[in-house]
């Protein structure tokens, strides 16, 4: 989501790369670019100013002057400043209270509280093995309670029934009471969206907070939020003792400036990112990793973690063996790769985390959508095991059969086989030259090649 910011920063830094010395003047030039990039990324103006000052102060320090490569030094400085701004490390939920631990969600209308409540319930159930009860205190939006009831069913959380005729405070209190009786670990209370300038509604959420005494009070904010993020975050922070922030809709192309603004204004850690519509699309937020993502240094750590969670280790080991031998990468392996990629959230999610991915043109990225992946899998599924092992035998009539079986044109079979040929070559090179070399050779060919 930080694509554009990352591109701009990289561009700004590139100008410095050739410089032998870091002068007052060329720092300023780079910082102007940084300022523009941040403003275009919707980082709030006061935050931009503070950030630039911070970078400038760090840049003219000794560490830079002592460095051999000014360009690298500045990237390091910007990176450090970003990490400092966003918090040092991932802050986990603090649920070590006497059960039930209460989590209260608050935010503007349409920021994604109800969806987040469901995602959080699923996360706590699956990753932390906690029993979860969800309750909706949104008596205003039509069918808001219904929405949570349905979502609770899909994520396997207990739903506390409430009606639009009840008072929000009563709902919250009763939900916690019920959870206490039935020995449930965590209660998540979803609330109505409210404007921070709406005194009456802000009083209401304060009353809810006072009634249930939550261990976590989380501010849910849309990552596409503009400059107003500072005002809303400030108001919510003043009204409630926030313990953290959840940034939603981070899977779009929002430049994510809100993340920096909210963090700066509230001083509260961003704990999670919402990265999709499905209930599993919630990721713990890692400031240091996000900083390197912004700068285009990639987020290989997250990628590795994700891989460990989803990838079949045995399969991966076999493939690695094949590749290091430099041969034998067949269509079966290709299909396994495609499937694993799907499991890891699709191409777009992977590309976000790869180093250098920011330099891939937008047009090329657009072609790499996940439908393509599914189509390739369908094509391979329509082949016989022999064809998968020895793709060279696929000629005219086999192609027609495969095309009919997978519902595509013969041209697509041809294109796919050609891509596969390229991949085989690349795999051979990978066996000899390592990953870095492969990344470089891929760059020109990316459109169409599925990873």
């Amino acid at each position: 989501m930080f694509d554009n910011l990352s591109q701009r920063l990289q561009l700004a830094m590139k100008k410095l790369r050739g410089e032998a010395r870091l002068t007052e003047q060329n720092i300023s030039e780079a910082l102007r670019e940084v300022r523009m990039a941040l403003l275009e990324a919707d980082v709030a103006l006061p935050v931009v100013k503070a950030f630039i000052d911070d970078v400038r102060a760090r840049a003219v320090g000794k560490e830079v002057l002592a460095s051999l490569s000014p360009g690298q030094a500045v990237i390091k400085v910007v990176y450090d400043a970003l990490v400092a701004l966003m918090g040092e490390s991932n802050d986990r939920l603090q649920l070590a209270a006497r059960p039930p631990a209460v989590i209260l969600l608050a935010g503007l209308q349409g920021s994604g509280k109800t969806t987040t409540a469901a995602k959080l319930a699923r996360f706590l159930r699956e990753r932390e093995r906690r029993s979860v009860l969800v309750a909706s205190a949104d008596v205003y939006r039509p069918a808001a309670i219904d929405q949570l009831r349905v979502l609770a069913g899909t994520v396997g959380a207990t739903f506390f029934p409430s009606t639009a005729q009840q008072k929000p405070v009563d709902i919250a209190r009763a939900a916690v009471e019920q959870a206490g009786k039935s020995g449930i670990d965590v209660v998540i209370i979803d609330t109505a969206g409210r404007l921070h300038v709406d005194r009456e509604m802000m009083d209401e959420i304060q009353a809810i907070h006072a009634a249930v005494d939550p261990v976590e009070t989380l501010f849910v904010v849309d990552s596409m939020t503009g400059q107003d993020a500072v005002n809303t975050a400030q108001s919510f922070n003043d009204a409630l003792p926030l313990s953290g922030v959840i940034l939603t809709k981070a899977d779009g192309d929002a430049r994510g400036g809100a993340a920096l603004s909210v963090r700066r204004v509230t001083g509260k850690p961003i704990k999670f990112l919402g990265v999709g519509e499905k209930t599993e699309a919630l990721e713990p937020f890692h400031p240091d990793r996000m900083a390197s993502r912004i700068l285009g240094m990639g987020d290989v750590l997250s990628l590795v973690e994700q891989a460990q969670q989803t990838v079949d280790q045995e399969q991966a080991r076999k493939l690695a063996q094949k590749i290091t031998k430099g041969k034998g990468f067949d269509l079966e392996d290709f299909r396994d790769q495609l499937r694993q990629m799907e499991k890891m959230g699709g191409i777009a999610s992977l590309m976000d985390k790869l180093p250098g991915a920011g330099e891939i043109p937008e047009a090329a990225k657009a072609q790499m959508d996940d439908r393509q992946t599914r189509r390739l899998i369908a094509i391979i599924n329509s082949m016989t095991p022999q064809e998968r092992r020895f793709p060279d035998i696929i000629r005219g009539s086999r192609k027609r059969r495969i095309a009919a079986g997978s519902g595509v044109h013969v041209q697509e079979i041809n294109r796919m086989l050609k891509q596969f040929g390229e991949m085989q070559k690349m795999m051979k090179r990978l066996g000899k030259g390592g990953l870095g070399k492969m990344m470089r050779s891929m760059r020109g060919k990316l459109p169409g090649v599925p990873f």
Binding site: M36, L39, E40, A41, D42, A44, L45, L108, Q109, G110, S111, G112, T115, Y140, R141, P142, A143, A144, D146, Q147, L148, R149, V150, L151, T154, L195, H196, V197, D198, R199, E200, M201, D222, M224, T225, G226, Q227, D228, N231, T232, K249, D251, G252, D253, A254, R255, G257, A258, E277, A348, A366, D369, D370, R371
Partner: protein, 321 residues
């Protein structure tokens, strides 16, 4: 006009009060004005001369209101070229510049009586306020004497159908719906059939919220439009993009993507009753002269206003007394 006591919840002051339309709009935008307008006025009066300092301060304020770098530079450029000599002149030029950018976009939605049903397809990202806008729009059209039908095309989000049905009950208009998970295009198809058979004046089709970067979902939106077009080649007659006023420069990307997918014909900017909002309209107007149909200024059923450029600029930068 009670500009500074806007603390009551929108719902409570819905019922016909005598403040008048402009007063009420102005009232609802009070927060915006406090954010931008008042600070600007103070700022301009605080400067004794028109200089680089003044321009820089104004640039900061415009940027801080989501006007965006490009539009801000354009606005500053226009005022500088006009060579205002006093801060007051500067202020007048600023108003003129803002109006010049936004005026071409003030094109209200007109429902042609020759077309029946007049089809409005509503699209936008998640949480922009589509369903609420449809509820308010249905109310407005009903009170103008049109018969209205709603189609629950958001078959993805849990309870979205129920949400629209509630709005249908409130307005006394029929809602065509299938269950959650149904094909949205099929819902649109059935609704087109029903609307034609019952000869309703206006059919409003809701769609699921989708981020504009999700190609698959944007294709689905294309399909819905295609299906509607089978009944009437000119339908949907209006593709209304709903945008949250709180979003920043991403609004430009949303507009571009939705437009290339389904051809946006009008905008509705929601949630304008918060703080320091509305600047994004200038950033958009600067790039695309797209009709801005409505603005949402509160949670009440009456809080959907026809967009009027002069009123909007007046509400943000009041004329000096």
């Amino acid at each position: 006009m009670g500009l500074f006591n806007k603390t009551t919840r929108a719902k409570t002051d819905d019922a016909g009060n005598s403040v008048g339309f402009l007063g009420r709009l102005s009232d609802r935008l009070a927060a915006t004005r406090r954010g931008l307008g008042q600070r600007l006025a103070t700022l301009i009066r605080g400067h004794s001369a028109v200089d680089a300092d003044l321009a820089e301060d104004i640039e900061a304020l415009l940027l801080g209101a989501d006007v965006g770098i490009e539009a801000t530079r354009d606005i500053i450029g226009r005022i500088t070229r006009a060579q205002a000599r006093t801060p007051d002149e500067f202020y007048a030029e600023l108003r003129a510049a803002l109006l010049a950018i936004i005026a071409p976009c003030a094109q209200p939605l007109t429902i042609s009586s020759d077309i029946r049903p007049y089809v409005i397809m509503v699209a936008g990202v998640n949480g922009a306020g589509k369903t609420t806008t449809i509820g308010k729009l249905a109310h407005r059209l009903r009170s103008e004497g049109h018969s209205v039908m709603l189609a629950a095309g958001d078959t993805f989000r849990a309870a979205a159908v129920e949400q629209l049905q509630t709005w249908g009950e409130r307005n006394g208009v029929p809602v065509m719906a299938q269950s959650t998970g149904a094909d949205a295009a099929a819902v649109a198809h059935d609704a087109m059939q029903a609307a034609t058979a019952r000869a309703v004046d206006v059919l409003i089709i809701d769609t699921a919220g989708r981020l504009h970067t999700q190609t698959g979902l944007m294709d689905e939106l294309r399909k819905i439009k295609r299906v509607i077009g089978r009944f009437d080649a000119n339908a949907p007659h209006e593709v209304l993009l709903v945008l949250d006023a709180g979003i920043g420069q991403n609004a430009l990307a949303q507009l571009a993507h939705f437009d290339s997918a389904v051809g946006v014909t009008g905008l509705c900017l929601t949630k304008l009753d918060g703080t320091a909002k509305g600047g994004i309209l200038f950033a958009m107007a600067e790039k695309h002269a797209i009709p801005i149909r409505f603005i949402g200024v509160g949670e009440g059923i009456d809080d959907l206003r026809v967009f009027d450029a002069a009123q909007f600029v007046d509400a943000i930068l009041p004329q000096p007394e």
